[in-house]
């Protein structure tokens, strides 16, 4: 019997560490005083690193992996596919991917690549759809397959479709181009599954996701009045990314009913969290904010409240009309920092309608677009007389103590009037 190679041993070790990391985050949530069994579904789904094969088996649909929010989930669903977000918040797996990757790489994508390596043997993915948001996502596939990985050699990478993202979303040209991109995506997927996308299926999916959006809106409202902590919200959103929409919807509706019967708990120090995504099990910043006695009443993270940007109004229910509406939702309404025309991003803060202690801007080291945009957000926050703090970090817990000190100082300093 051959000895396992160093790489294989490392992979097996990492798998164990990753399982522990997920379990630790889930356990922390279970220990909280606001835990209730109604959260169990979300902990079960969010609390482990699912492989594509497992997700496919659980949902009964072929899996399409995707990065970022701009790939319309309704299209995947309507074509009988299960969307699975490649984004990962696991610190352990990112260590596995460190070799051969740029030193200052976005931790989320490094983790995603690591997760792919861990799951490589078991992956059963129909296709991979990558919206071309930042440089890291554009180069994701190249980085993923270029790794010196003996496991990688045994598995074939799924076919990749780059969903080209026009970086001007308020121009006629940009909107038209993105609609065309969606049709190209449909063509690509139709070719893969061997059948056409039907209008009725798309309409059904649009209505289903609209229902899900309505539930998400209810959860956001519950969050505003102190009944749903940010860490729970992260688990709920993570579950959405890894399970079937129908099952998630049922569980989320039950949760809404439960929370609506809880007492409103207005938070004394409500903060607005924005910047780079926070993905389960990476709850480091959320835990530290809580420890600093602040409450994240709102955020505009792309794996959280902005999971589906905006609601979608549909008048024209032809395929063309539905695609136009989806393009509006996933492109025009998206506030990803990779867009050139993002002037109204700060309006998300104003729209919260709560007195805010301040804005916490989260930057993952290497996440350049959010790093760049933090300057604009800081200036706007200053103009609006809202305290602002920029936290630059990564997935590893080493800097937790330093961050906590800064957050406590931020929480305790009297900044005067705020929004």
């Amino acid at each position: 019997m051959n000895e396992p190679s160093r790489q294989q041993r490392l992979t097996i070790k990492t798998q164990g560490e990753a399982r522990q990391e997920y379990a630790a985050a889930a356990d922390w949530l279970r220990q909280r005083p606001d835990y209730h069994q109604v959260f169990d579904y979300f902990l079960e789904i969010a609390g482990q690193a699912w492989t594509a094969a497992e997700v496919s088996e659980r949902t009964g649909r072929p899996v399409v992996q995707h990065l970022c929010n701009q790939a319309p989930l309704e299209i995947f669903h309507a074509m009988g596919l299960q969307p699975l977000r490649l984004a990962s918040g696991c610190c352990a797996v990112s260590r596995l991917a460190e070799a051969g990757l740029p030193a200052l790489m976005c931790p989320m994508l490094r983790s995603a690549i690591g997760a792919q390596r861990v799951q490589a043997q078991a992956s059963r993915v129909l296709a991979r759809v990558i919206p071309t948001t930042c440089d890291w996502t554009v180069k994701f596939q190249e980085l993923a397959v270029a790794l010196p990985n003996d496991l990688q050699k045994n598995s074939s990478s799924p076919p990749v479709h780059l969903l080209e993202l026009p970086h001007q979303r308020h121009s006629e040209r940009g909107q038209a181009r993105f609609q065309e991109e969606l049709f190209l995506l449909i063509d690509f997927l139709e070719q893969k599954i061997g059948r056409r996308l039907t209008r009725s299926a798309l309409l059904t999916s649009v209505n289903l996701y609209r229902e899900a959006w309505a539930v998400l809106e209810s959860l956001i409202a519950l969050r505003r009045d102190g009944r749903l902590a940010a860490a729970w919200f992260a688990a709920i959103c993570a579950a959405f990314l890894f399970d079937s929409i129908e099952r998630w919807l049922t569980a989320a509706q039950t949760l809404v009913s439960y929370l609506q019967n809880q007492k409103v708990r207005p938070a004394a120090r409500s903060v607005f969290l924005c910047g780079s995504p926070i993905i389960f099990p990476n709850l480091k910043l959320l835990r530290l904010i809580e420890e600093a006695k602040m409450y994240v009443a709102a955020d505009e993270l792309c794996a959280s409240e902005r999971l589906w940007p905006g609601g979608m109004a549909v008048d024209d229910r032809s395929v063309s009309g539905l695609i136009r509406a989806l393009a509006g939702r996933y492109h025009r309404a998206c506030q990803c920092p990779t867009f050139a025309d993002n002037e109204r991003r700060f309006n998300s803060v104003r729209a919260v309608g709560l007195p805010l202690k301040g804005i916490i801007y989260h930057v993952l080291k290497g996440c350049h677009p959010f790093d760049i945009e933090s300057l604009t957000m800081e200036r706007m926050a200053r103009e609006a007389n809202i305290p602002f703090i920029r936290i630059e970090t990564e997935y590893s817990p080493e800097d937790a103590r330093t961050i906590l000190t800064r957050l406590e100082a931020f929480a305790n300093i009297d900044h005067g009037a705020s929004a």
Binding site: E180, F183, V319, S320
Partner: protein
């Protein structure tokens, strides 16, 4: 027969949607009355700044001023409606000089009226009638209308127009029915309108004698009138002569109709609908062809 709008018709004929439109277009001759008659001519309407309206009427006898040639010239009017003409004939002052014999009605509101004039010329009794609709611009009746409560005169029209709602707006192509109460009289009827006059027996034509007292008169279309605006009118006069028999000297009655061009006779609904469908089809084709992407997109 010359068509009066050759170019458009030619264009439409090319796509075969325009049926012949000149069938009724007969040139009306000038006044071809063979019988001297007393006739009321419409002298026009004038609106004043208070909204009241002055309608002028002029009398002619055998195409000339009756003043000096006729005696006992009188005029009357009766306001009413096209459904039900008024019963009371009211005296209407008539002013004759060396140039003209004229009467005026100055009134407010909207009224349908019948006008009657009579005179004795060269020993023969003549009567003239006309109908008119006056649209004053105020809403309160006034002027002659206010004086309508005066003493009615005893007048017996020799020729009666059978009332019909359409008389509010007389048009070419419309049929007017008349009754000459002395049905046993030997009548001779003529008109400046070349259209046929049909007696109750179903026969007759312009300028022929008829024994029947009831007859109808279909006004012909007039290309010249058509070319004018919709407000333009053409004067059609129908003359009925009752021949002298024995001691009876006979009499002549004239009825003037100022008619507009027909509103409906020249409408071609089939052509319009064909054009509608054709344009709609072309437009649909245009929309589809202008769509740059596939229909699904």
């Amino acid at each position: 027969m010359k068509c009066f709008f050759p170019l458009p018709r030619l264009l439409l004929a090319a796509i075969a949607i325009l049926p012949p439109v000149c069938a009724d277009a007969q040139a009306l001759g000038a006044s071809v009355l063979g019988i001297p008659a007393l006739v009321i001519h419409n002298g026009g309407h004038e609106v004043f700044s208070d909204g009241t309206l002055l309608a002028r009427y002029r009398l002619s006898f055998d195409g000339e001023n009756p003043n000096g040639r006729c005696q006992d010239i009188q005029a009357f009017w009766r306001p009413g409606s096209a459904f039900q003409p008024g019963r009371r004939w009211l005296p209407l002052p008539i002013r004759c000089d060396s140039q003209n014999c004229e009467a005026e009605i100055h009134m407010g509101g909207i009224v349908f009226l019948t006008l009657l004039a009579q005179a004795r010329c060269a020993g023969i009794f003549y009567q003239a009638q006309t109908i008119d609709t006056l649209h004053a611009r105020n809403f309160a009746p006034g002027g002659s209308w206010a004086a309508a409560g005066g003493e009615p005169a005893s007048v017996i029209p020799s020729l009666e127009l059978i009332p019909a709602p359409a008389h509010y707006y007389p048009q070419t192509g419309m049929t007017f029915s008349f009754r000459y109460p002395k049905a046993e009289s030997n009548l001779e009827i003529t008109s400046n309108d070349v259209a046929g006059i049909i007696d109750a027996g179903g026969t007759g034509s312009n300028g022929v004698a008829m024994k029947s007292g009831d007859f109808s008169f279909t006004l012909s279309h007039d290309p010249a009138l058509n070319r004018q605006g919709f407000e333009a009118t053409s004067e059609r006069i129908i003359v009925v002569r009752e021949r002298a028999v024995g001691a009876h000297t006979g009499q002549v009655s004239a009825f003037t109709l100022n008619v507009h061009r027909s509103r409906y006779a020249f409408l071609r609904p089939e052509s319009g609908m064909a054009l509608f469908v054709a344009v709609a089809a072309v437009s649909v084709a245009l929309v589809i062809s202008l769509k740059k992407q596939s229909w699904r997109r």
